[in-house]
């Protein structure tokens, strides 16, 4: 007996196979349509949340692999470090120590100013801290999985911060885990401003993994090293969280166009902790305050005291209009 698989000539797809392919494609399109039209509480979204929770152990295993690879890489690098590199590291260490002293001075100064303005409590963030247990397995998106979920009070839309600054935003929640879209994801957009000049802009992720400053006025001077922080506009992210620093400004010849690249301060590496922000008094103040808040923010900005000097940054009641602007920039133009 000759099987239909034994020769190449017998491998033509039968009509039933074509019908099956068409049927499955139709089912797929129906599923995609239902998924796109239903809300976050829709049945497919719920199934996806549960599936994300079920596959979390796999992602955790992947995070372990990544951590082991990083550790091995560091070990090899340390073992093969040259005298020149060692000297450079010593110098860098000395510089960091100096910066630490300066930062401590600035922190204390910031605390004093904050106490004077009686807004110290506004910087307290109420949230849940969890560990990164997985990274996205899709080449087109940049997201992580964190081991805190709705059981811990996490909800979609909440901001996520790392040890050094903003990491991303919760997009999907299951009882035990949540998925966080990183700020470097092409679909991510964060309303922000330059700390030095307080000029508003939007920090947008890109396919190449970099962060770009957009919607920045052409007249604004931007220089390498400028700190970019969240503005709190739109209410998606609390105000005053550090996003990163400007690392490159490329001016287009003959035009006023320029490309401003921002390096994120906080990265979400495997098995490191991040905090999901439930509420921030700073954000509430920004939403409800107006020009007074802006004045206070401007005053505190002048001292370049730290990353959290803008808790009372006001929105002038333009949240609704900015939401539209933000959505356009965040969801793609």
């Amino acid at each position: 007996m000759i099987s239909k698989h034994t020769t190449a000539k017998s491998k033509s797809i039968p009509l039933s196979g074509t019908v099956l392919v068409v049927a499955l494609l139709v089912v797929s399109i129906v599923l995609a349509t239902v998924y796109a039209r239903e809300g976050q509480d829709g049945p497919l979204h719920r199934v996806q949340s549960v599936a994300g929770m079920v596959t979390a152990p796999l992602q955790f295993a992947g995070a372990g692999v990544a951590y082991a690879a990083d550790t091995a890489g560091d070990a090899v690098e340390n073992a093969t470090v040259s005298n020149e590199s060692y000297t450079a590291l010593q110098q860098e260490n000395a510089q960091l120590r100096d910066q630490l002293v300066q930062m401590e001075e600035l922190r204390q100064e910031n605390e004093r100013l904050t106490a004077l303005l009686d807004i110290q409590s506004q910087y307290q963030i109420d949230g849940a801290t969890g560990r990164v247990i997985g990274t996205g397995s899709d080449a087109y998106s940049r997201d992580i999985t964190v081991n805190v979920g709705s059981n811990s009070g996490v909800e979609p839309g909440q901001a996520v911060v790392g040890p050094s600054g903003l990491v991303g935003q919760v997009t999907e929640v299951s009882p035990l885990t949540c998925r966080v879209r990183l700020i470097t994801d092409p679909q991510s957009g964060v309303s922000a401003y330059l700390q030095s000049s307080r000029d508003q802009c939007v920090v947008k992720g890109a396919v190449d993994g970099l962060l770009y400053l957009e919607y920045l006025d052409d007249a604004v001077q931007v220089k390498v090293g400028d700190v970019v922080v969240t503005s709190g506009m739109g209410g998606s992210f609390p105000a005053g969280i550090t996003i990163g620093t400007v690392t490159n400004v490329v001016n287009q010849a003959g035009t006023s166009d320029r490309t401003v690249i921002v390096s994120p301060l906080s990265t979400a590496d495997a098995l490191e902790e991040v905090t999901v922000v439930f509420s921030s008094s700073a954000g509430d103040a920004a939403a409800g305050d107006s020009s007074d808040g802006q004045d206070a923010g401007d005053a505190s900005a002048s001292d370049d005291a730290g990353v959290s000097d803008d808790a009372s940054d006001g929105t002038d009641g333009t949240d609704a209009a900015y939401d539209e602007y933000y959505d356009e920039s965040g969801e793609g133009e």
Binding site: G17, A51, L58, A139, D143, V207, D208
Partner: protein
Amino acid sequence: MRETVVLIIGGIVAFVLQSVLAPNIAVLGAMPNFALAFVATAAMLRTSDSIVVIAFVLGLASDLSTGGTVGVMAALLTLAAFIASRAASLFGNETVTVSLAISMATSLIVEAIYAFFYIATAGVPAMDALLLRALPCALYDCAVVLIIMPLMSHLLARSAPSHTAPTSSTVRLR
């Protein structure tokens, strides 16, 4: 029956590799799609309804686990199975060169469609999506196909008693 079991196990392995290994071997953000590589390879080696169904289920599982739009990868993998099996039946001569060409074409088509979907829904620049993601991902997929094809050819040949084992996996796949 045994062939179907081999395909199911292969699908599960591809899913696990995609979740565990793929993010850790990404190069400049481009990572291989083990599910796509598996489906393309299996469809070239075996033309049966089971691989189409497995491709659909694998895509659905991928959509659910990655948080993407449910149904998109399911449709793409189903399409990949169809394209690869059709191409193999028309042009396949069981050599590595033709198999690689078919898998390359399948990967490029699927990755390009996915990129266009992403461009349409996420507002990503077309050139970025195509040049920084679709093309390198398709090349990565082909590299994976090169690795898993001899293995799957061997496994599927063993699962089908009427098949003779390949005399040389580098020249003749079956």
